[in-house]
Subunit: 455 residues, 2 copies
Amino acid sequence: MPDPRCITLAAADLPKAWYNLQADMPHRPPPPLHPATQQPLQAADLARIFPMNLIEQEMSTERWINIPEPVLEKLLICRPTPLRRALDFERALDCPVKIFYKDESVSPPGSHKFNTALAQAYYNREFGIKRLATETGAGQWGSSLAAACNFFGLELKVYMVRISFEQKPFRKMMMQTWGAQCVASPSEETQAGRDIRQRFPDTPGSLGIAISEAVEDALTHDHTRYALGSVLNHVLLHQSVIGLEAQKQMALAGLYPDLVIGCAGGGSNFAGISFPFVRDRIHGKNVRILAVEPAACPTLTRGPYRYDFGDLSGMTPLLAMHSLGHQFMPPSLHAGGLRYHGMAPLVSQLKRDDLIEATAIPQLECYAAGVLWARTEGFIPAPETTHALAAAVREAKQAKEEGREKTILLCYSGHGLLDLAGYDAYLSGKLTNQDLPQAEIDAAIAKCPAAPAPA
Amino acid sequence: MPDPRCITLAAADLPKAWYNLQADMPHRPPPPLHPATQQPLQAADLARIFPMNLIEQEMSTERWINIPEPVLEKLLICRPTPLRRALDFERALDCPVKIFYKDESVSPPGSHKFNTALAQAYYNREFGIKRLATETGAGQWGSSLAAACNFFGLELKVYMVRISFEQKPFRKMMMQTWGAQCVASPSEETQAGRDIRQRFPDTPGSLGIAISEAVEDALTHDHTRYALGSVLNHVLLHQSVIGLEAQKQMALAGLYPDLVIGCAGGGSNFAGISFPFVRDRIHGKNVRILAVEPAACPTLTRGPYRYDFGDLSGMTPLLAMHSLGHQFMPPSLHAGGLRYHGMAPLVSQLKRDDLIEATAIPQLECYAAGVLWARTEGFIPAPETTHALAAAVREAKQAKEEGREKTILLCYSGHGLLDLAGYDAYLSGKLTNQDLPQAEIDAAIAKCPAAPAPA
């Protein structure tokens, strides 16, 4: 009998509570500031954007927060997710590493975003909200929220970054199949969208623009709130089921990872896989934790740490984070989910405290790792996920050079079945790295208006 | 804690042998005939099309055939597959039924076809073959064989039915990602393809045409053989892992199905889920077994039982089967995998012996069931799979009318993530049933040249 490749958990092993790293981290992030007054934000300031139950969760420092029964029930559609051993990828690399991947691609929309989508749709419904507005980059978040809103009986309007809307038409159809409405952003349906279209008629869009549109939509419609798929504390909280399950599964494999890897756009799948391990690290465990971002949108590795807006128009609160500036327009990478100018405040704080590392990898190296993965493991990864795979390749080669064995755990955040155009471009030699010159990044950062420096 | 929805098996529960129904069926199908002599086919007659080890399997009547270790190893990538309970679909139907579905969509290419693709690629490699040629309808088979050939180091050329090639461009990209070549059929690359294009320049293509092209390709290239994704005995054999696993999982659920449902194009996923249960039925168990086909390609329900060719040009052996005639050109249904004029001889024989039932369902009713499924269970089914779902809806309603409880097991043969254009057409009201008038079917059947009637 060949080696098992998959470590499954029973339904009873599904975590019953989310893990909140804020209870354990040595320094919590500085508070968000009100965009107008630049004073620390009060819960009430967010009440027109989010329902109060989620605002409370956003601000909570409780270590464990119970997952409501209706959310558990829907999580069981695809959770606990498998932990798989990448046996053939390891063999192809021929390096002294064991690579385990937590497979979040098995959810109905195909990524980890489903975890927080269910929770956010549920809490909004509990608060009496009838309709949500959101943005989406590659479409993973929009389609996840579409599935979740469908389950909990909410209407949904999705503003999808134009470049992804065009590259990934199936994502829109997927959202419609679950009953949501999806438009390309910038759109004609909001003031923010119309302004941008007038200034930059050919813009590929960005998450920053789409967030402005979705927030404006929520502020201008009755019984409507905004939902965000990453960056915020409560979103990262909901993703902690990934790492909690992975800890049980690694224990079943009789191993503890030397290194935990996640790709990082806003930071949510990275936080999901890693925060329970960050807790271990805080308590003295010898584990490295690595966030991987695109070289063309190098937020953690090159963006300064400061207060910045989450969106292009400056409608959101100011968050203390690594940021390339809220006016930064990332190139049209296929990894649309990683095209974000900022990084979650919790992740940014961990970077400042040297509890995590970060690296940036160019697009072509990521696709090379993705194709090698598809041809060894069989599954075709999302362009975002290939960043974690490319980092695993680098780490494996380093392990070989150093002659040291290494156990790697990575978050396989989503599949690439709706992103095959990127593979087509790569395989036909049409893809480039789309790296940015340092001067262009400096200019974007300089354009960002002054905001108080975090403590 | 909510009810578990998923019954998983451990790697050790993967079947170690395929189940061959020929050992148990009361009447075996009449032998295939040589296309020229119309005499019973000898193994040697097939030797230029298939490798001898698969020909032996095709003709075997052994009950259990061991699965080779390298095939087991690759099956473990996604097997044992989950058996899930469709709790929310049941609630939406509000009928006295329990519905379990065997989820074959979790394979890398997204369908059950991966099961036989692995076996066929392995046996060809063992026989010293370097290259395979095949046809594909919706692309599920072509992409599965692409993944399998990639694993076992074979080249692959896929002739993809033109209508699907155009509707589902991502399938081609998927095959390329695994290193295969894919062209639209009819193509300019074979005599069979050029002939058809001359006669019918606007043809949407059909599986029958694509098979002619692939067989011709295999006959005219060195070290090349042909591979078929359905219909033949050895293909159905390889799919028996589905039903064997499902039997263990139903036992874990403490239930035995009253009814087993599979959609049927050539018959392979239907055979996979049902043959182990057909065996039970032969041995006196009270279980109904239902094959579901499109109303626009009603092979089992309306096609006469006779000897017919598997392809359009009459290059294949004559098989004893229900057939609409090998020149039948099915409408451009989205369920491309069900657009085949014939039905597997083993399945056809079971129908003759009243061991199975068959029904045909129009396209719109299938999509309605598929959308209900997506909005309740979350997962978006392949257009082919929606036929099994629509049949389950009919059976559930009947159970309610009759006031009887029913446990249904169905084969969830694949996901619809690369078939979203069909959902888009359905949701925007552009889809029609594409039913065929009886006269048109009669004409197609009449056009079929006379062949000896099976015993």
